[in-house]
Amino acid sequence: MQLVRHFAPTAGLALALLLGWEVYCRLSGIPSFVLPPPSGVVRVLWTERSAIGPHALATIGVATLGFGLSVAFAFAASVALHFLPWLRRGAMPIFVASQTIPIVALAPLMILWFGFGLLPKVLLVILVTFFPILVSLLSGYAAVPQAWLDLLRSMDAGRAAIFRRVTLPAARASFLAGLRISATYAIVATIFAEYAGARRGLGIYILAAKNNFRADLVLAAVALSAALTLALLGLLRLADRITAGRFGGPADAAG
C-alpha cells in the first residue's frame, strides 16, 4: 500500500504524458516515421524483441562491468587519496580536468585506439562514472564529526582502525548518493560508446535504426535504456534497504 502511494504520483504523471503524446499523434495526423505514437513504440518493442534483446544484453554487460570496475577503482582511489594528502592535492586537479573532456571527442578516439571490443566501452563508462563516486566518498570521509574521530584517537586507535571503524561507515550515505548519480550515467555512457562503434549494443542498434529512418525503433531502444537505468537505480535502492538496519534507516529515506 505504501509502495502504491509512493509511486502513484510518478505513474500518474507518466501516464498523462504518454496519453497526451498518443492523442497528439492520432489527431494531428503526423506521419509515424517522424513521430510514432507510444502504442507504436510498444508494438515494435514486442515484435522486434528477438532483434533488440541481444543488443540490450550487450549493453547490460558493458554497463555492469564498467560500473562495477568504476566503483572498485573509485573506492581504492578514495582510500589512497584519504591517507596521502599530497597525492590528493596532486591528483584531484587531474581528475577534475578529465571530467572536462567531451565524451563526443573521446568515444571515437577510444575506438581508434582500442578497437571495437569491450575495452574502449568499459573505459568510457569508467571515465564517466568514476568521478562522482570518488568525490562523494571523499566528501563523506571529510564530513565525519570530529568528536567521533577524537573518541577513537583517545582510545589509542591507529589510522587504519579509525578509518575502518568510523570514517568508512560514516561515509555510507554520501557514497550511496554518489552511486545513484553515477548509475544514471552508466547506461547512457555505454550507449554512447556503442554508438561510436560496436558490433552489438543498444547504441549501434539506435544508429542503424536512425539510418533506416525508423524513429519507432530508435524510441523503442530509448525506452529500453530508460528501463535499464531505472532497474539499476532500483537495485541500488534495494542494496541500501538490505544493509540499512545498522545505519538507522536507508540513506535515501528522505527521497
Binding site: P145, A147, W148, L149, D150, L151, L152, R153, S154, M155, D156, A157, A161, R165, V166, P169, R172, R246, F247, G248
Partner: protein, 246 residues
C-alpha cells in the same frame, strides 16, 4: 595521581590557555568550571591526546610522578556530546573501547553485559542510539567510558544537553556509579550547581588566556550536601566567576 604542569595552548599568535597546572586525585571528582571559551575543552583534549593540529601545546603530564605521553590507556575521554556511533547498537557502542584495544567481540560484550542494569540500559543493549532518550544516550556513553577500566576519566560537559530534571537525576546517578566504580574524574562543566553537588574539588578557570584562578576543596561527603550546606561555597564560586567575566 595525575598531574598537569605548565600547560600552555597556543592558537597561532594567541593563547588559549596560559600556564595551567593542577592535579586529578585518584578516585575523586575534580570539576573544571569557567566561562564559555576559556579553554576547558582544550585542556581536556590535550589530556586525551586529541588536540586539533592547529593548536600547539607545551606542558608536562605525569601519572604517579612518571612522565606520560597521550593518548594514554590509563586515561579515558568522553567528548562533549555523547559521540555514540549511530550504526552500532548500544552494546557495541559500550564495548567500543575494548574492541579497539583488541578484545574479541564476544569477550567485549561479556564485560559490558553485567553493567547494563546498573547503567539503566537493561533491555536496550540491542537498540540503536537513535532510539534512546538523551539521558539513556548519556548513560550508554558513560558505560563505554567506564568499561575501559582507565584510572582517570575525562568528561566534557556530560549533562549539558539534558533537560533540567533529567540532569539532576543523572547527577545523582553518576554519584552512585562513582561509589561503585571509583575513578579519578576530571569533569568540565558550566554549571555551578552541578559542580558543587558532585565535585570533591573545583578548579575555576578565567578566560583570555585560560588560567586557573581558584582551587576550592569541598569536604562535605556527597550524601550530606544539602542546599543549605552548599550555599556558602556556591556564593563564593559565583563571586569568583563573575569577577573573572568581563
Amino acid at each position: 595521581m595525575l598531574r598537569v604542569e605548565g600547560l600552555t595552548v597556543r592558537a597561532g599568535e594567541g593563547r588559549v590557555t596560559q600556564d595551567v597546572s593542577f592535579e586529578v586525585a585518584e578516585d575523586r571528582l575534580t570539576c573544571l568550571i569557567g566561562p564559555s571559551g576559556c579553554g576547558k575543552t582544550s585542556v581536556l583534549k590535550w589530556l586525551a591526546g586529541v588536540l586539533a593540529p592547529s593548536l600547539a601545546a607545551t606542558g608536562r603530564l605525569s601519572i604517579d610522578g612518571a612522565p606520560a605521553t597521550t593518548p594514554d590507556r590509563r586515561i579515558a575521554y568522553q567528548p562533549q556530546q555523547d559521540a555514540l556511533l549511530p550504526w552500532l547498537i548500544v552494546a557495541e557502542n559500550a564495548a567500543l573501547g575494548l574492541s579497539i584495544r583488541g578484545r574479541r567481540r564476544a569477550e567485549a560484550r561479556e564485560a559490558v553485559t553485567p553493567l547494563l542494569a546498573s547503567f539503566g540500559l537493561a533491555g536496550t543493549e540491542d537498540a540503536f542510539p537513535a532510539a534512546l532518550s538523551g539521558g539513556m544516550r548519556q548513560r550508554a556513553a558513560f558505560l563505554r567510558t567506564i568499561v575501559q577500566d582507565s584510572r582517570f576519566v575525562l568528561l566534557d560537559e556530560p549533562f549539558s544537553a539534558l533537560d533540567a530534571v533529567t540532569r539532576l537525576s543523572m547527577q545523582d546517578w553518576l554519584a552512585a556509579r562513582l561509589d561503585e566504580v571509583p575513578r579519578g574524574i576530571l569533569m568540565v562543566t558550566h554549571d555551578l550547581h552541578e559542580a558543587t553537588r558532585l565535585a570533591d574539588r573545583i578548579l575555576v578557570m578565567a578566560a583570555r588566556p585560560g588560567r586557573i584562578v581558584a582551587d576550592i576543596t569541598i569536604d562535605t561527603p556527597r550524601g550530606d550536601r544539602t542546599e543549605a550546606a552548599l550555599a556558602g561555597t556556591r556564593s563564593h564560586l559565583k563571586t569568583r566567576l563573575l569577577e573573572e567575566t568581563p
